[in-house]
Amino acid sequence: MLEIKDLRAGLVEGTEILRGISLTVKKGEIHSIMGPNGHGKSTLSKILIGHPAYKVFSGSVLWNGKDLLALSPEERALEGLFLAYQYPVEIPGVNNAEFLRMAYNAKLKKQGKETVDPLDFEDILTAKMELLGMDQKFRERAVNEGFSGGEKKKNEILQMAVLEPQLAVLDEIDSGLDIDALRIVADGVNKLSNSENAVLAITHYPRLLQYIKPRFVHVLFNGAIVRSGGYELAEELEETGYDSYLKK
């Protein structure tokens, strides 16, 4: 589904942040990326979604065999790539439910399907919120405006649930969540993952991984993936930290 090869990328003005990343994610897989602060995890996620502050210098990213980097961010989203942001943006005045319906309809349109009216969408949204055990009050509020840290993260997962992406990149979806919320979010991820889609979860904590059981754990250090392993790698890192990498 996703094939990153020797990706070098960074800021538009030229600073290199990613120094040769290679990573393959297949359908049905859950991957996790861990790594110290400031080593390029969020940068990778933003490069994948096509954020204009970042630039690819070399390497390639294939998306279902096509050149992902040639697609606009809008097209990437419509084709099923989803990024749950580490820091979701507040959009005052824009109704959460209305925004979600527009995004949902944009996707239906892309798939050549008929769009849904606000009443039908109400039902879809209610069902997703129930699935995630989310308070219905999120529906009528402005997108992320005044949401607590944890509420913003839940709202990202709600968007993921509604849009049903092929690949969900979750950038620290677990940070700021209380213990119950973490379980709810992890349950949501589990309920939504199936053999046709994939998850790439960036995290600092093995706790989330205990719930979502990634098949692969990667360590992103200094802009490159320096080690990959199974779930046990996360536990090992919890013990040892990133000291051994820093010393190298």
Partner: protein, 428 residues
């Protein structure tokens, strides 16, 4: 003091000489003329017109018009009447109140609209400091008093105040000028909603309104105002409010622009615990100008005032918000907030803000803030990365910005009208 021959003031006073003034309002006209003579049009650096460019206004030739040559029929005004307000309607055509077109039967005598009486205290213009309000007095020939008749009466159906301008000039090359005057009176514990709509029939005119709102103890008044004059219109307004103890006033204004729009608010919280909110939205394009000059005075303890202005500017349009909250000695526990948000779509548009506080009491909670900017790129990207086109994302963010104000209008035809008038302006 007579103005210099050939000055804009003398042109206005020429109109005044031609204007018959034997009527009931003669002494008000004369006081207005004296105030106008003393005030004159503002020089460049006038404190009340810091950001207002009057050059084109002063170059225009106006003629005062007392009502239309022929009153329109009920059918002709129907398209401008909000659904549900047919029997809760006050109509002014070219500044002249029409009892025949108005209809207050929805209120079973609990609210009325009658010809303004020349002795109304609101008409005392000896101390008028706004030159445009003095012009209104100068040409005043009538007006309307909207009144809730009994204490505690709850007026359910909104009262629509419809200002229609026919824009028919009597002499060639002149722009008709109208001076509507409205007094709204709510006795103690009365409750009412007013929906003001301005509209005109295409050509240029100058509408120069003065509205006085008087709220008794515990009264509650909501005023929604949709300024939907054509882009060629000159629109000036002065709104005063005097609020007694525990009264609550909510004003929401939507401005679609015009050659030059200036709203002057003089709002006084006179009784303990009175509360006031003023929300304003303007969407401007081309060379349109919209200005707010606002003075809020806390005269009693425990009063609250909240102001929020939003402007969306395109083209070479210009907006300003000049607002001062004064908390007088003894008006302890005052709470006030002044917010201004300007959303700019062009580098040639201009938005000025001047929020100020003058505090003469020590226990107060006052804050103010202003933002000026383009649409936040991060917000656009967030929506685009969910599959919205850039155009859809921008439209959603702008309408979200506008709705912050529009949602404060009562639901239904009024907010729908404001929304369609304003948001249509944004559609390319």
């Amino acid at each position: 003091m007579s103005p210099q021959p050939g000055s804009p003031e003398s042109a206005f006073l020429e109109g005044y000489d031609a204007f018959k003034h034997e009527g009931r309002f003669r002494h008000i006209n004369e006081t207005g003329a004296a105030r106008f003579g003393a005030l004159g049009f503002p020089a460049k650096k006038h404190e009340m017109f810091t950001f207002v460019n009057l050059r084109e206004f002063l170059a225009e030739k106006f003629e005062h018009v007392e009502g239309p040559e022929k009153m329109p029929s009920k059918d002709e005004i129907k398209p401008f009447v909000y659904a549900g307000c047919e029997n809760s309607l006050v109509v002014l055509v070219d500044g002249r109140f029409s009892a025949a077109l108005s209809d207050m039967t929805a209120h079973d005598g609990n609210a009325s609209a009658t010809e303004l009486d020349e002795g109304n205290p609101a008409l005392d213009v000896h101390a008028e400091n706004d030159v445009f309000a003095s012009i209104n007095a100068l040409f005043l020939t009538g007006g309307v008093k909207i009144e809730v008749t009994n204490e505690g009466a709850q007026i359910g159906v909104p009262i629509q105040v419809l200002h229609i301008s026919t824009a028919q000039a009597r002499s060639a090359g002149k722009v008709p000028a109208y001076s509507p005057r409205i007094v709204v009176n709510l006795p103690g514990d009365a409750k009412a909603r007013i929906a003001v709509k301005y509209c005109g029939l295409g050509k240029a005119y100058f509408v120069n309104t003065v509205t006085d709102l008087v709220l008794g103890e515990g009264a509650e008044l909501d005023v929604s105002s949709v300024q939907g004059d054509p882009a060629s219109a000159w629109h000036f307004s002065k709104t005063t409010a005097r609020q007694k103890k525990n009264s609550r006033l909510g004003i929401v204004g939507a401005t679609t622009g015009g050659r030059l729009v200036r709203h002057n608010f003089d709002l006084r919280l006179e009784g303990e615990g009175a509360a006031l909110s003023l929300l304003s939205l303007a969407i401007l394009d081309g060379a349109e100008q919209s200005h707010n000059y606002v003075r809020v005075t806390h005269d009693a303890p425990g009063c609250k005032s909240f102001e929020h202005y939003k402007n969306i500017l395109r083209g070479r349009s210009v907006s300003s918000v000049d607002t001062t909250v004064t908390v007088n000695a003894g008006a302890q526990l005052a709470v006030s907030e002044q917010l201004v948000n300007n959303l700019m779509f062009s580098s040639t548009a201009r938005a000025d803000t001047k929020p100020r506080l003058m505090i003469r009491a020590d226990d107060v909670k006052c804050k103010h803030g202003a933002t000026v900017g383009r649409i936040d790129e991060a917000q656009i990207f967030y929506l685009v990365s969910r599959g919205l086109s850039e155009k859809a994302a921008k439209a959603l963010i702008i309408s979200g910005f506008a709705k912050g104000v529009l949602n404060a209008m009562p639901n239904g035809p009024i907010s729908a009208d404001a929304e369609s008038l304003l948001l249509n302006k944004l559609g390319e």
